[in-house]
Symmetry: C2
Subunit: 450 residues, 2 copies
């Protein structure tokens, strides 16, 4: 239990000890008990026990979520699913696989290495795939391959009363279906508040024949984001297009021993056959150059490419390293593509005015970006400024027809913002669904809905 009480409920190791009064900075809220079931039957039996004693149930995958989703706000029993780590039912010819909740995305992709297939959804952290389903995760590849919403075909779920369902029916794995209510996509993104996901069936993809990555610098945020929008408008099937502002690239340079120009930057990746890559790259370079972008710095071989994306994924640690002794806090929003330059420019101004160390990095091909702040957790004033800034950022996104969270989810941190985003009548419908499936509010209580 030690590792949970030590703060696993707060997510990444680096934020385990985060404390704060504000909702948006989550403090550790340990459960009363942690159980480690080894199979769905044990999950079901334990859920029945909790149900009988009306104990809250908090599903736990890898704890890499960022909105306090695994905090036991009402105490209760944490179901750590790490011991259920089997990869089941790989059907390479049908492009699907079923995994237990202890299987992470890296473990799956290692397992798939010899098959010519891969699972592309990549939120950065080596999260568990069932946890990624529970939180509707996405990440750098979503612009090409979609999010968990588009890639989960079926879920095995243990409900609060211990009953076991398969959202699309047991063993079902057609590539499309019109059979009844789409329960699968109701449970995807339900953040553990409707049930415990004990299996997920995922759509797989062929490993691209070729991949190349490139880095391109710009003189302004506007030029980088304009390029992104134009690349998508040109129909380039780009696999990754990540924006890093100059603060972020500076941190990445220092942390990962890179030497990219300290200016707004795009990290790009192209997947396809050799010929199709050539065409994608040519079109993209024409566009970036017409926006004053630098020549591409290439990462053609796997090693350089991995180093590039590791640097991108290490953004969190890179940001942290800029202010030793501090803690990091990340928030995300998503807006329609055309609003991106405006919101990023305004957000950077706000960071300066708020005297915050903020790094902007994001999946700009989806209109989604993160603001990654580094702060002194003992500085109550700074914590308060982070909170106010995050609220303003979310409301700025809402004012631009966007959402307060593109991929981190609601958890504890964005429950009020969710109300603002969807309005009271939608909240009532969401509450009625929650009440229908979990009438005693045992499943991860206090998350998503207030």
């Amino acid at each position: 239990i030690t590792d949970f009480c030590a703060g696993g409920c707060c997510g990444r190791q680096t934020v385990r000890e985060q404390h704060g009064k504000d909702e948006s900075v989550h403090r550790c809220r340990p459960p009363d008990v942690v159980v480690f079931p080894r199979c769905v039957e044990e999950v079901s039996a334990l859920a029945k026990l909790c149900h009988r004693h009306q104990l809250p149930i908090i599903p736990f995958g890898t704890g890499t979520g960022l909105e306090g989703g695994v905090g036991a706000v009402k105490g209760g029993v944490c179901f750590s699913l790490r011991n259920m780590d089997q990869i089941l039912d790989l059907h390479p010819e049908d492009f699907d696989v079923t995994v237990e909740p202890g299987v992470t995305r890296k473990a799956l992709n290692s397992y798939l290495r010899e098959t010519g297939l891969w699972f592309p959804v990549d939120p950065g952290a080596d999260a568990s795939l069932c946890g990624m389903a529970a939180t509707s995760a996405s990440g750098t590849n979503a612009v090409r391959y979609g999010t968990m919403r588009e890639n989960v075909m079926n879920l095995e779920v243990v409900l609060a009363d211990g009953s076991v369902i398969h959202t699309a029916g047991r063993n079902r794995r057609p590539r499309k279906t019109a059979a009844g209510y789409n329960l699968t996509n109701l449970f995807v993104g339900s953040e553990g508040t409707l049930g415990i996901i004990t299996k997920t069936t995922l759509r797989l993809y062929g490993v691209p024949e070729e991949m190349v990555s490139a880095v391109c610098s710009f003189s302004s945020v506007q030029a980088a984001v304009d390029s992104t929008v134009q690349i998508l408008q040109a129909g380039v099937p780009i696999a990754r297009i990540e924006f890093l502002d100059e603060v972020m690239i500076d941190a990445c340079n220092k942390f990962s021993s890179l030497s990219y120009p300290v200016s707004p930057t795009l990290f790009l990746e192209f997947h396809g056959s050799e010929r199709s890559l050539e065409e994608q790259v040519n079109t993209t370079e024409d566009i970036t150059q017409s926006n004053g972008g630098s020549d591409f710095q290439w990462a053609r071989d796997a090693e350089t490419r991995n180093r590039l994306w590791k640097a991108r994924h290490d953004a969190w640690y890179a940001a942290l390293a800029m202010r030793p002794g501090c803690k990091a806090y990340a928030t995300d929003v998503c807006v329609p593509l055309s609003r991106l330059p405006h919101i990023i420019v305004e957000t950077k101004e706000d960071l300066i005015e708020s005297r915050l160390t903020g790094h902007i990095v994001g999946h700009v091909g989806d209109g989604n970006f993160h603001c990654l702040m580094v702060m002194d957790p003992s500085d109550q004033d700074e914590l308060h400024r982070v909170h106010l800034f995050s609220q303003r950022l979310a409301r700025r996104a809402l004012a631009m027809d966007g959402t307060c969270t593109g991929e981190h989810g609601v958890g504890l941190g964005k429950r009020s913002l969710l109300c603002e985003e969807v309005g009271p009548s939608v909240i009532r419908v969401m509450q009625s669904l929650k009440d229908a499936i979990d009438p005693n509010n045992l499943m991860n209580p206090g998350k998503i809905l207030l």
Copy 2:
């Protein structure tokens, strides 16, 4: 009201007078009243009236559904939404548009003609887009562009009590979101049983630089379907790959004055730049030839291409024309790709054993196919054989990890099969969701759930 009483509730004109005792062949079930609201406020006011008097509400778009979804099995008020036909809020730079429920897919694509954008989901019929959302429609382009599930970003819905919600919040249109329960995809495919869709926000795509279509014949079903699976495995981003068995191609030849060989056939379409097309086509031709397929017969110009796809979309009428005076009935299933050859071969044998005139045509890239039967509606024995055959086909798909419906939906016809597909515990969850959102069972009662 005349046109409804004449049988609009049964879908396509050609089946308007279908009658039969079996569940799978739907007879006309007219509502008591038809109303033609002109705006969401009128829909809401009328729904409140129905709510007060506990009258069933049956939403009606174009009536092109195939599973009896608009039949007024308990009488009540049909809401024809044809007078709400405005295209609203086109955002070309964000690739999205919002439409009212009277707007059909062809009307939208005509409207978009000058913008370089299009909406690709194409079920064949010129269905209303909100109706397509309600039934989770898909069709020939789904293999490349997804179904309505992947392409609806937001819905305005009038609930049974007359309240109006926006499933993702009013005006929200980010390309992705993790904000709360995915209500949008709960309403997509709910077949009018949860609310009346009065607006849908759709994802648009850039019109491909080039399109070419081709036809290829094979000596066996297995060879055609093997080619399909291999084309997908090779990562060809094919836009359409449609299978027609020899019975279907014969009917299409006769109906549309074509002269393709009477054997299992693939209709294919490729979208992309000139260079990428060349590569897609070369890979595909290599694969089809290695499976003994004929040389491609090309449809490069728009006119020939349109003629080809019109022939494909006229399959229903072509089948009907083979037995003058008869009626057509279609059913669909979807299975994992690798099971396709087996299920199609078995199904063709079953058709012969059942002494039925059946045509097989399908979106084989998704593992989805239709069996289109032509029968004498006055022949009770033939009707019964159609019913038994359809049940066997669905159960064959279920036994192969598939679904009883890939795109037609459940409606009246497949309620029992849905129970078999998902099991009683999932049906209970679905029923609890229905009860939560429509506690008086006023919305399109008797559909999806028994």
